[in-house]
Symmetry: C2
């Protein structure tokens, strides 16, 4: 039988309303004498307010959801980038005294259910296709503040945070072009589903245009963002005679490196590889992976700031927030053989 607000009030000889004010720090409404007295009783009993009761009575739950697409039997954190975001977001929210509810979404209808059943104050959508974001209706969202990460959807119901995908891939390609590569493969998921991949692919081609070089469309490898898919793509990339490859994720790049090795190609001797994200695994690889770094910590911080600003009624930017990226040169890129 945990102690309740009412118990505290009875013991202090005041009304529940007064205890409520003290517990919530509405000090203007309570004399410092009663405040101290109540606080002592609270302390002694180890009173913890009931969050469900608060959510019900107040308009706020101090709860933020992180929604991530996941097939029924899949784990969310197989993707290192997702795992990183989960951790960073939890940390940012905790700093602001909010709680994180993590929820895999197998079917579109679950989004509504997740958003509404817990009266979430806000929710972060990670890894959804642009079209899925665009399909969200006010009716499904309710008053929940939404931040979609890494999306190019246009739905005004969601705030948007992303990093500069176009520039990231441009940097990667420009780096390789500068080293003398011309047969550069681009490996990543289909562009149609997400603007992130489309933007990266465009940035990649922009580097070619800037360099006055032509790009062979046959070097576009459509592949899932997994190590296994990367490995398989690596052998195909080797067979295609590419001297370099830009992958849309580190885990994919590392898979490709393995495929290249299986095909008898050395990295960066025969083929240069550039990843994307600068996840921890990028520096665990041998050689260490050259990659486009995005600042996950900043991304999480901005996401939470947008969320809290909007919750506080402050104006939030209608446009998407785009964070800068940076090329991190490590051990997987070098001049092509012909140049050395």
């Amino acid at each position: 039988m945990p102690v309740t607000l009412k118990d505290i009030a009875a013991e202090a000889g005041v009304s529940p309303a007064t205890v409520s004010n003290v517990v919530n720090g509405v000090s203007a409404r309570v004399s410092s004498g009663t405040r101290e007295r109540i606080l002592r009783i609270v302390e002694r009993h180890g009173y913890v307010p009931s969050a469900p009761a608060r959510s019900l009575a107040a308009k706020s739950s101090r709860l933020v959801g992180l929604l991530v697409p996941a097939a029924d039997r899949d784990s969310l954190t197989i993707n290192p980038h997702t795992a990183g975001v989960v951790g960073m977001l939890e940390r940012e929210l905790r700093r602001h005294d909010y709680h994180l509810m993590l929820r895999g979404i197998a079917r579109p209808a679950e989004v509504t259910e997740a958003l509404r059943s817990w009266r979430l104050d806000g929710a972060v959508l990670l890894g959804f296709h642009d079209a899925e974001i665009d399909r969200l209706k006010r009716r499904a969202v309710g008053e929940v503040v939404l931040v979609a990460m890494d999306t190019y959807a246009e739905n005004p119901l969601a705030l948007r945070v992303r990093s500069d995908d176009h520039e990231g891939a441009r940097l990667a390609a420009a780096h390789l072009l500068g080293l003398g590569h011309r047969r550069i493969a681009f490996a990543g998921p289909e562009s149609s589903a997400t603007g992130v991949v489309r933007q990266r692919h465009e940035g990649f081609r922009r580097a070619f245009a800037d360099a006055g070089a032509a790009w062979d469309e046959e070097l576009r490898f459509t592949v899932d963002t997994t190590h296994a898919a990367g490995r398989e793509a690596g052998t195909r990339i080797a067979a295609a005679g590419a001297t370099a490859v830009v992958a849309t994720a580190d885990v994919l790049a590392i898979g490709i490196m393995e495929g290249l090795a299986a095909a008898g190609r050395s990295v960066p001797g025969d083929v240069s590889v550039v990843g994307y994200d600068d996840a921890d695994i990028a520096s665990y690889a041998t050689p260490k992976l050259t990659t486009v770094a995005q600042d996950l910590r900043a991304k999480a911080a901005v996401t939470v700031r947008l969320l809290l600003d909007r919750l506080a009624g402050r104006e939030a930017p209608a446009a998407a927030v785009t964070l800068p990226v940076e090329l991190v040169r490590r051990g997987t890129t070098a001049a092509p053989r012909a140049f050395s």
Copy 2:
């Protein structure tokens, strides 16, 4: 203004109690005619029951917390093993229609607050020291069902799930001894804080005893479970003249490999390395890491089953559940130079 139970009841011309019974599938109490009618109205309005209201009125929240120690400014998922557990647990809970609340714990008092404020039905404690588990009091825990993972604490307030740490390290050491190694380093955190490390260290020494070999205590390297700490330890291990090393985590092993390389040692040519966990990163490393695999999926499944069994009032094992481990031989172990 989202639609409520009351709205549905009014529209159907029945009492809220009846709608409640229908929504909760208590079909024995409602005629199939009214049930169908109500279900149609629920469907049409996209009614989603309020979880806070349910938690408040009922005894159950269908909410399970995952509590992980984390300094104020730290992210939880820097540790690949933690990231894996987060994903697996979310998936298991989702299958059973429970929700996951993820919570980093910076100070011991936060455990109570986390457990009680949301009226969690259950909570999983991951990565706590045995002593911290043992210090938990009934008063702090309340009615919350607790499962502590990877602990050798004796607190009866917590159910326990772990893998066979003693056997895992014994297998690792036996493998290396069988290859002819004798100067084998053991690298991991201090044994005093967690039984997991102590058990692994004992299993490691048991292999020596079984082989009738002596182990040089100087080859115990106390080191945090991070890549950076591993790298630093790797150079010391090289300097100590070890021909092999057993690390208590894959991420640590990979760091050690880097340190060994920095010291001019090849793996497995000069030094063999065995990791622990068989996290994804184990197969991303070059060469692929020989490691002790624990079945994370099974661990998460057992954790959730224990939790739900206990919630359903079924008997749960008082003893800890210990899951089997397996040695996965890959590319980082070989006979020592002198033998080849």
